[in-house]
C-alpha cells in the first residue's frame, strides 16, 4: 500500500548545516594545530640555535682569553728583549766612553768593570798627568775614587785606580738585574 507518490529522502546525521559547521571547524582546528606545530618547531630550532650560539660563545671566550695571554706574553718578551738589547748598546757606549776617557799618555794594562765599580790598572809618566787627565774625569763620574802608585822600571809609575759609585751606574744599569 502506498501513501505517497514521492520517494522519501534518506535521513542522515550529516545534514548540509552540520557539514558546513564541520568544515568550518575543521579548517579552524587545522589552522590552530598548524600554528601550534609551527610554534613548537620554531621553539625547538630556537633552543637548538641558542645552545649552538652559547657553545660558540664559550669557545670564543676560551680562545680569546688564550690569545690575550699570548699577546701579553709576546709584549713581555718584546719589552724584555728590547731592554736586553738596549743594555748591550749602553754597555758598548760605556766601554767606548771609558776607553775614550783614557788619554794617549796613559796606558791601561787592565780594566775591571763591575756593577758599582771600575778598577783600572796602568802606567802613567807621572802623577800630574794621571791626576789631571784621568782622575779628574773619573771623579766627576764616580762618588769615591782611590788611587795608588808603584814605581815602574823605566821611571814611569804604575797605578791602580779604584772607583766606586754608591748607586748603580745609570749608564751601566741593566734590566736583567731587576728581572732577578
Amino acid at each position: 500500500m502506498k501513501y505517497s507518490y514521492i520517494k522519501p529522502r534518506p535521513k542522515t546525521a550529516f545534514t548540509s548545516e552540520v557539514k558546513l559547521l564541520l568544515t568550518f571547524f575543521s579548517i579552524t582546528i587545522f589552522m590552530l594545530f598548524s600554528t601550534y606545530a609551527f610554534l613548537l618547531f620554531k621553539d625547538y630550532t630556537f633552543a637548538k640555535d641558542l645552545k649552538h650560539i652559547q657553545h660558540l660563545k664559550a669557545q670564543l671566550k676560551i680562545e680569546l682569553s688564550k690569545m690575550k695571554d699570548d699577546i701579553v706574553f709576546i709584549e713581555r718578551e718584546n719589552v724584555l728583549a728590547q731592554s736586553v738589547q738596549t743594555k748591550n748598546l749602553v754597555l758598548k757606549d760605556s766601554i767606548t766612553n771609558l776607553f775614550d776617557l783614557v788619554p794617549q799618555r796613559i796606558t791601561l794594562s787592565r780594566a775591571k768593570l763591575q756593577k758599582n765599580a771600575l778598577i783600572l790598572y796602568g802606567i802613567t809618566p807621572n802623577k800630574d798627568v794621571y791626576n789631571f787627565m784621568l782622575q779628574a774625569p773619573l771623579r766627576s763620574i764616580f762618588h769615591r775614587t782611590y788611587s795608588s802608585f808603584y814605581p815602574a822600571g823605566n821611571g814611569w809609575l804604575r797605578f791602580v785606580s779604584t772607583n766606586y759609585t754608591d748607586e748603580e751606574l745609570p749608564m751601566l744599569e741593566g734590566e736583567l738585574e731587576n728581572e732577578d
Partner: protein, 183 residues
C-alpha cells in the same frame, strides 16, 4: 509560551558550542602561551646572535693583533724559544775574537715565564772595536743574550784578554720540553 526547537538544531548548537569552547580553550591555554614563549625565545636568540657577532668581531680583531705581533716580533719569539747551543754560538761569533771559550751554562734565575742562564766567557780580542762589533752582533743573535758584569779587559801581549758574563734568557713556559744543550 512553548519554544519549539527541532532536535537536529539542538545537536547543531551543542556541537557548535563544544567546538567553539574547544577552539577558545586551545587558543587561550595552549596557543597563546606558546606564542609568548616563541616571541621571548626569538628575542633571546636575537640578543645572543648579536652578542656572538660582537664576540666574533672582537675575536677577529684580537686574532689580527696577535698575528701582527707574531709577524712583527718573529725574531724575538723564535729567539726566546730557541735552545742555547754553545757550539753554534762559538761558530757564529768566533770571527769577532781571536779565541772564544764558554763555560758551562748555569741556571741563574727564574721569574714567571722566563729563565735566565749564565755563561762565563773568556776571549781574546785584537782591539776593543772587536768587542763593540760583538755587542752589536749579539743583539741580532738567535738567542736573547745580555752581556753582563763583571767585565774584565787585560793586556796579553799584542792582544786583549776579555772575560765577561753572558745572560741567556729563554722562555720557560715549556721548560720540560726545552733542554739546554750543555757544552
Amino acid at each position: 509560551m512553548k519554544i519549539n526547537i527541532a532536535r537536529q538544531n539542538i545537536y547543531l548548537i551543542a556541537i557548535s558550542l563544544f567546538l567553539f569552547i574547544f577552539v577558545l580553550l586551545f587558543s587561550f591555554l595552549v596557543l597563546i602561551p606558546q606564542g609568548k614563549d616563541y616571541r621571548k625565545n626569538r628575542v633571546e636568540l636575537k640578543v645572543n646572535s648579536k652578542e656572538l657577532r660582537k664576540y666574533q668581531n672582537f675575536y677577529d680583531e684580537t686574532e689580527d693583533t696577535l698575528k701582527d705581533l707574531q709577524k712583527k716580533h718573529r725574531h724575538i719569539i723564535v729567539a726566546f724559544d730557541s735552545k742555547f747551543n754553545p757550539a753554534r754560538f762559538q761558530k757564529q761569533y768566533k770571527s769577532y775574537f781571536s779565541s772564544l771559550e764558554l763555560s758551562k751554562l748555569q741556571k741563574s734565575a727564574r721569574k714567571e715565564e722566563f729563565t735566565t742562564y749564565e755563561v762565563n766567557t773568556t776571549s781574546q780580542i785584537s782591539s776593543p772595536k772587536s768587542f763593540y762589533n760583538f755587542l752589536d752582533a749579539v743583539n741580532k743573535s738567535d738567542w736573547i743574550i745580555g752581556v753582563n758584569f763583571p767585565i774584565e779587559f787585560k793586556r796579553d801581549g799584542e792582544l786583549i784578554k776579555s772575560t765577561f758574563t753572558m745572560q741567556v734568557i729563554s722562555n720557560s713556559k715549556d721548560e720540560n720540553k726545552t733542554k739546554i744543550v750543555e757544552l
